[in-house]
């Protein structure tokens, strides 16, 4: 019931169209890059998806993160804008279910983006590289699936920040600063790459199995920790208000 209500609240916010548009925009990067300088990339001797990811993923992930922040911001902005949150708090509902309802909408929205991006990578692979469709699809699915998992902590953290900030610009400002911090962190340090907003910058193709497991565990752990932290914050927030 809570999920459906949350979904209905988004009706006039253009939430899902925005994510679809963002997905198309970020899917355009590899296509444009290949269309303009394909000789540069086809000359490299490596799996197609690896070449495509290494040359485009940084910009795509930047777009993904910025859109995630915007989406998270909107999800709570519609509550805070007209004091809707007070009405929600007056209902016999736990605040946590509000949070997880919103998270349950943000996850498929982001998944939609990831699917569009995967489709674009497969298209580029089929159009400019001669690799079998099966390899392309499985490579792209694995890469984007990995990226999706690694983005979950950032997703929860964005939503957490926006649940704490009443003003839209405070949330956006903090989110933008977080993405910026992630882009400034040293790329070679494993510890620094565990920062939720830095983790999605990792690329699956070419990574060692041990490293992959470490990142997957870290992503799952961070998601769980951030989720429980949000639960505690929601419970204790009114004590300090």
């Amino acid at each position: 019931m809570s999920l459906y209500t949350e979904f209905r609240k988004l009706k006039r916010t253009c939430f899902f169209p925005a994510f679809a548009a963002g997905g198309v925009l970020s899917a355009a990067f590899p296509v444009l890059n290949m269309a303009v300088r394909s000789e540069l990339f086809t000359a490299i001797n490596a799996p197609a998806i690896q070449i495509l990811m290494e040359n485009n993923w940084e910009m795509m992930v930047m777009l993904n993160l910025l859109l995630l922040i915007t989406g998270a911001c909107i999800l709570y902005h519609i509550e805070y804008a007209e004091n809707g949150i007070q009405k929600m708090q007056a209902l016999p509902l736990r605040e946590a279910s509000l949070f997880f309802g919103k998270a349950a909408l943000l996850v498929p929205a982001f998944a939609l983006m990831a699917v569009i991006e995967a489709a674009s990578l497969i298209f580029c692979g089929a159009r400019w590289f001669n690799e079998s469709a099966g390899t392309l699809i499985s490579d792209a699915a694995a890469s984007l699936g990995f990226a999706f998992l690694l983005t979950l902590p950032a997703l929860i953290l964005s939503l957490m920040i926006s649940s704490l900030c009443q003003n839209m610009w405070t949330m956006l400002g903090i989110g933008v600063l977080c993405v910026f911090t992630a882009s400034m962190l040293p790329a070679d340090s494993f510890l620094a790459s565990l920062f939720p907003y830095a983790m999605p910058f990792q690329i699956l193709p070419g990574m060692e199995t041990e490293q992959i497991t470490r990142y997957c565990i870290a992503a799952a752990a961070e998601t769980a920790v951030l989720g429980s932290a949000e639960l505690i914050i929601l419970k204790t927030r009114r004590l300090f208000a």
């Binding site: 915007t70 804008a81 610009w169 600063l177």
Partner: protein, 256 residues
């Protein structure tokens, strides 16, 4: 009301907005890695740039490429949202004030925030260069005249970008799109500075100006000249169209 008092009113509206904290944090995050990794600037022989120039360019590069446009998008959200919460805009429109003047006053506030951010960064550059000079026993400080001049150029070249951001904030009423487009428009600027039509994309102007300066300072990099002819007219036309459209459509939805 005189234009100057309109601007003063707009400044009073954002007095308690804590935007200064965000600007300060953005400056701090930008310059802290520069101080920590100051020794990296000694290994730039293959590009042929001196460490002090490299320190200056790298720091400002981080600012112009991402954080300054992103922070300015946040500022447009701040300016429009302070008005929309509690329907403040209806009260403003009820006043005997020219709406175009109101829109321009808000643009001036945006310019002032941007100028403030550039000044903060220039200040932070001197503080971090002084710290790096002390830790590395090498003089990283550049002449204030040069740094201020460059910061001034960067600010001027960001005026069309701010006009576009302001138009987006005024015209697109759905927050998810106005913010999303603003933030998403930053990312392709890396692609645009490498194309011949960079002058059609205002978001990449400051970044382009700085890359040209980088090429001039570095001996082993291709020296591109900043061609003023297609750029300045294009920039002027874009700015004027955006500001005119913003003035025309400001408050239109509320007046219906």
């Amino acid at each position: 009301m005189k234009f100057i008092s309109l601007v003063r009113v707009e400044f009073q509206k954002i007095r308690r907005s804590k935007i200064l904290l965000i600007l300060l944090a953005a400056t701090f995050i930008l310059w802290l890695p520069s101080v920590i990794n100051a020794d990296a600037h000694f290994h730039m022989q293959d590009i042929g740039i001196t460490p002090e120039n490299s320190f200056f360019i790298q720091g400002f590069m981080g600012m112009t490429w991402f954080i300054s446009p992103a922070v300015m998008t946040v500022c447009t959200v701040l300016i429009t949202q302070t008005e929309r919460t509690s329907n403040g805009i209806l009260k403003m429109l009820a006043l005997p004030v020219n709406t175009a003047g109101l829109a321009m006053a808000k643009y001036v506030v945006l310019l002032a925030l941007s100028a403030l951010y550039f000044l903060l960064n220039t200040g932070a550059y001197y503080i971090s260069a002084a710290i790096a000079s002390a830790t590395q026993s090498y003089d990283f400080l550049l002449a204030p005249g040069y740094v201020l001049e460059q910061a001034g150029y960067l600010f001027l070249s960001s005026l069309p970008m701010l006009a576009v951001f302001w138009l987006i904030a005024v015209c697109i009423r759905t927050p998810v799109f106005s913010v999303g487009i603003g933030l998403a428009s930053i990312v392709p600027s890396v692609l645009f500075i490498n194309t011949k039509i960079w002058f059609l994309y205002p978001m990449c102007y400051p970044f382009y100006v700085l890359t040209v300066e980088y090429g001039r300072l570095a001996e082993n990099m291709a020296d591109t000249q900043l061609k003023l002819v297609p750029w300045i007219p294009a920039a002027a036309i874009i700015t004027i169209i955006c500001l005119a459209a913003a003035c025309l459509s400001f408050g239109r939805a509320e007046r219906k």
